[in-house]
Symmetry: C2
Subunit: 411 residues, 2 copies
């Protein structure tokens, strides 16, 4: 920020809720890692060398040539009908058929999560979250002055059995990333999903199912979304339950176009459309057309996702193998079946923010996990991303980090 005389005492004018806001630690760390010599496992960035640049170039040419005036004009807050239809079709399964009207297009799934808060949360509401949980959700929701009730997690995701005790008190909403969770990479088991769907119904509790990584499975058996499991277990043939499902093209096509979506019951979509109007009128017409033009070739899209899975699987395996070889035995970590992240736990006497300073001195970066936790936990944990760095960088970066960790545990 530039220096200079400022005329107004802005701090006295900012809204009370903004006092609780702070810049995202993750994004601030990403700035520190901008030096080209740093090997960064910090971001949640897809591998840019896999972006379907030529497909997107063809799509921009096509939509501009065929419907140039339409794709550059204002459009509806709900989103492009064909794109809503495509997403509805891809998420429908068997008897559970999603109507395009139950899909709202958003500017990335972050906006979906942010808008859901705007329609549902009153000051002081109680909200159930996995612990740890996605820090970007907390950044968005914290200004509502909420009480976050944390649910502990294990290798099968949120420990759903803990919910009964928590739900003795009234809660407004639950937020979860059931599949390849950020930051741990763990996945909620099918059995727990079925039980969770029952609990949602029993308690009239809405769930925000944030699912940016669901299509990126590298091993193990696929588990349907909670949206789908709720529909199956309760016999829904349309979207009429408690789940508000947030998805995105950011991880399977490209994040730079900012195309996400919410699938939810009609009253929720109706209210979200009002907020969408107030927020930014609508998501970029052009980007919706381009994304649709690429994704409507589902054979291409599925093949592209298969390629991503193959490359990310290799990177995950390489990172895990190199960690096995170079990390000290006092350090443990998750072994995700998909997604972009794994989480490392050091001995409690070590602090991830301190270790990060030493790591940056060795030109390697990660994200400390304390901001992902409700409460004081997580100081000795950090998150590693394995999708963005090339294989040789993964090996070199993990070796550097291993040396830093070995020195730290020896002290």
């Amino acid at each position: 920020m530039i220096e200079g005389k400022i005329d107004v005492d802005w701090d006295t004018l900012f809204a009370e809720r903004t006092q609780q806001m702070k810049r995202s630690t993750v994004r601030e760390i990403l700035k520190l890692t901008a030096r080209p010599e740093v090997i960064s496992f910090a971001g949640g960035l897809p591998a840019p060398e896999l972006f379907p640049v030529e497909r997107i170039r063809q799509a921009t040419d096509t939509v501009l040539a065929e419907r140039g005036r339409e794709v550059l004009q204002y459009s509806t807050s709900e989103g492009m009908p064909e794109l809503r239809g495509l997403i509805a079709k891809r998420l429908s399964a068997g008897k559970f058929q999603i109507h395009p009207d139950n899909v709202l297009i958003t500017s990335g799934s972050q906006q979906a999560v942010d808008m859901i808060a705007r329609i549902l949360l009153d000051e002081g509401d109680r909200v159930i979250v996995e612990n740890p949980t996605y820090v970007g959700m907390m950044t968005s929701w914290r200004p509502f002055d909420l009480h976050f009730s944390p649910v502990p997690t294990d290798h099968d995701g949120m420990i759903v059995g803990e919910l009964d005790g928590i739900l003795a008190e009234r809660h407004k909403i639950m937020y979860a990333i059931p599949t390849f969770q950020n930051p741990q990479g763990v996945t909620l088991s099918r059995e727990r999903r079925v039980r969770l769907a029952q609990i949602l119904a029993e308690h009239n509790l809405p769930l925000v199912e944030d699912d940016p990584y669901g299509e990126l499975r590298y091993s193990g058996e696929a588990v349907p979304s909670v949206l789908q499991i709720e529909a199956e277990s309760r016999g829904f043939s349309s979207v009429e339950g408690n789940v508000m499902y947030c998805g995105t093209f950011s991880k399977v096509l490209t994040p730079g176009l900012r195309i996400g979506w919410v699938v939810a019951a009609s009253p929720v979509i109706d209210k979200l459309v009002q907020v969408k109007q107030a927020t930014d009128l609508h998501t970029s017409t052009f980007n919706q057309f381009v994304s649709y033009e690429v994704a409507r070739d589902e054979a291409f899209l599925d093949q592209h996702i298969a390629t991503l899975r193959q490359v990310y699987r290799e990177r995950r395996d390489l990172m895990l193998k190199t960690m096995d070889e170079h990390f000290p035995e006092e350090v443990i970590w998750t072994r995700p079946e998909g997604g972009l992240f794994l989480m490392v736990t050091m001995p409690p006497r070590l602090n991830a923010r301190e270790i990060l300073k030493e790591a940056l001195a060795a030109d390697v970066a990660f994200v400390p996990c304390d901001d992902f936790f409700v409460g004081d936990a997580g100081h000795n944990m950090f998150r590693l991303n394995y999708s963005n760095a090339r294989p040789e960088m993964i090996v070199e970066g993990i070796k550097r980090l291993g040396a830093v960790l070995k020195a730290a545990v020896r002290e």
Copy 2:
């Protein structure tokens, strides 16, 4: 919205603030005008036949060929540095030099207006607005449960002399469209801008200067923005005053890319960046690069704006001439020097929503103005857009509307 059994009683769950939300009347009316036979003066749409489609196609090719991996990746919340620099340069004048760090890129200027509310407004705050004012601002701000204090307007815009009385009570913020205001098309005079800048300083009152139409002047003498007049009159050499200036490419390039911006003092930008992170992480990287690639050729941009001015001037003149010929003498209207809109006032016994029904029966549409007013005024007023319809449609539509109005005043 689809019908169907809904499992959850959502109405009991929605946040209190959403009770005050309603769908935008303008956007709902736009749906009614979707029939191809309707000549619509309702929207605020630019003329799509003037979109620089080929330039944008070239720009997409260039940025994808040269920096494909970068333009499709995540990027910073602040926005693309080169684009911020270009906007800063174009808005700087003489001694008043805007630093790129004082520019934040947003997803259209609607998002800028919405985010400013999020950082500044507490429940129950008093806010000063022109009367009438932009309905999209009210849609966004109304959930904060504000008290809107209306300032009357005349052919020179907001009657600034009325502010002293209003400011006897503490107000948090002022919102205004000083240039070619929506819905009236009137422009705040230079003398009033100088006085307004003084009042802002005296009362430590921030102003949201919403300026989507400023570059679209067709006649009369250009007036600098309040941002610039404040800087000139108070001797600022950088952005350090009370004005938060919102601009957009929507009216001078294309709305479909959703590129807007805020220019403001550093503490405001700093806080807005935090909200931007929480809201949607960042504005589409791709659209920022494409917009920059088109706009950095300033000779092209200025020539394109000159073309828009020429075409819109002709359409404005044609609409005014046809109104002079075909509207009954009991009806009066504004004669804007620029922008997209003029406002019509009928005799008080006529109601614009009733007249709209008759107009739609004659396949012509406009927007009633009651929603643009604070309080009960405006029932006999409506807004006409002259940028979107082709000349022959303007003549035909105004003739039809003239017939409807003549019948109505005769009743």
